[in-house]
């Protein structure tokens, strides 16, 4: 049975004089341990879908089930990594990582051991007593990943987590994420607008359309890992997905043009 089941989900946002259909007729099943990327241009509702799965913003209609239970609130069974890191700036690296474990009221000794392991694993040991403002973007995102790994949630939700990083740091963290994914066997739902990133990481790529957000293509990626972005198969897939995303991107651009001229 699938771990995450999204059934006929729609999400409508109301603003002053109009309503925006962010999601429509979304049906999606994600198996345990699967790495799925949601791909599409900005405004296609991929983050809206992720937030609905996270329980931050429930769908207007339809249901989302995780392990058979309907999602209504956020919870530590679905750890979230945000693009803006969302580390608590008033806590040190170690305190940030400890937060979720403290919420579970684990014994102090266990928390200390776990933090030690995680900081080791993510190469953050020397930074344990630093505040987030003293870390680079890549380091901050490592801390954010350590923070959700600490609560050991079976599902990781990632909202363009590497979007703000430079190319080298990005590739580095992608490799790290794949390593952790293989090691812990988590289910990952990963939002990105980078075609290359999605092909590099995912088992499955779900391409979404621009407003209303629907599923345009559910593409399985069969290439063996580690994947070589310079290989022919990689680039064929990249070209194919590129065309799909570009159509949506153009609709997005056209709509924005229309809005600007209407003003």
């Amino acid at each position: 049975m699938a771990q995450i089941v999204v059934e006929r989900v729609a999400k409508i946002f109301h603003s002053r004089d109009q309503e925006v259909v962010a999601l429509r007729d979304i049906d999606l099943e994600i198996a345990r341990g699967e790495f799925v990327c949601l791909l599409g241009p900005s405004g296609c509702g991929k983050s809206t879908l992720l937030n609905a799965v996270a329980g931050f913003s429930p769908p207007s209609s339809g249901t989302i089930r995780v392990d058979g239970r309907v999602v209504t609130t956020p919870g530590p069974d679905r750890g979230m990594v945000f693009q803006e890191y969302a580390l608590f700036p008033w806590m040190t690296v170690a305190q940030n990582v400890a937060f979720g474990l403290q919420m579970q009221k684990r014994p102090k000794q266990e928390i200390a051991t776990r933090i030690g392991q995680l900081l080791d694993m993510l190469k953050l040991k020397e930074f344990r007593d630093r505040f987030p403002k003293d870390l680079s973007g890549g380091m901050r995102q490592r801390v954010a990943i350590a923070r959700v790994l600490a609560i050991d949630s079976p599902i990781l939700l990632m909202d363009e987590p590497f979007g703000a990083l430079d190319a080298l740091t990005r590739r580095n963290l992608q490799d790290e994420l794949l390593r952790l994914w293989t090691e812990f066997g988590k289910t990952i739902l990963f939002v990105t607008h980078s075609i290359e990133e999605s092909i590099y990481l995912a088992d499955r790529i779900v391409v979404m359309t621009y407003r209303p957000g629907t599923i345009k293509r559910d593409q399985r990626v069969a290439l063996p890992r580690p994947r070589d972005p310079a290989s022919q198969e990689f680039n064929e897939l990249k070209r194919e997905l590129g065309m799909l995303v570009m159509e949506e991107q153009q609709r997005h651009a056209a709509e924005e043009m229309q809005l600007t001229t209407a003003d």
Binding site: E84, A86, M91, F99, G100, I151
Partner: protein
Amino acid sequence: MAGKLKAFLTGAIVPVLVLAVWEATARAGLFSPIVLPAPSAVAIRWWAYLLPTDVWNPAAQSWLAWALSGELPSDAAGSLYRVLVGFIVGAGLALPLGLLMGASESIYALMNPLVQILRPIPPIAYIPLAIVWFGLGNPPSVFLIALGAFFPVLMNTIAGVRHVDGIYLRAARNLGAGQWTLFMRVILPASTPYILAGVRIGIGTAFIVVIVSEMIAVNNGLGFRILEAREFMWSDKIIAGMLTIGMLGLALDTAVSRLNNHLLRWHRGLEH
């Protein structure tokens, strides 16, 4: 090092110049000493104000107690005591109320009209009522100071809570935080930059109010002393008292700013 010395010397030019002109005009007899005493006379008076009045008697008191038995130390201690007690009362009430008003729309809707009506009334305007309610002595003074500290801390605490970035709340809820933890470990620390700014303004207001309140309700403290000096036309003592007020205010503000820097060492804005 040389740079620091240079900066110090540059900073000293204007004050030294002002003092020199002031001393020269006073010595030349341009103003009566009652209107404007010479700075040297003020310095002498300040020294006398600082020193103990009695001779040291080792049998009766320790050396330190004797050294601090002068008028100025006891006045300064009296003023500082009122500021601190008044501030603790005022801020101690404002902080929980501000947190509640910031976090809850309904409490805000209930309390805000009253706050908005009372807030523009300067604490000084409460003086007559303070005397009627509390008589003379420290209580009316503490009341006025508490009022002066209350509103800045309240307004900033409300603003601080309302400006907490929603992403921290989402992250904390996602990690399993309940309402109480959310409040204590996320909302409260996230709003400290605002709250501490309010504390700094509140201490400043408290310091203004203490001087005024000492002019009406008590018979010691720096505010009382400069008004007393006026009755004797001791202008040098008035100015000596004013300078002491200035120094105490500066010391208080420096202490609060140090505390700020320590509590906000995680904050981006403090990167120098």
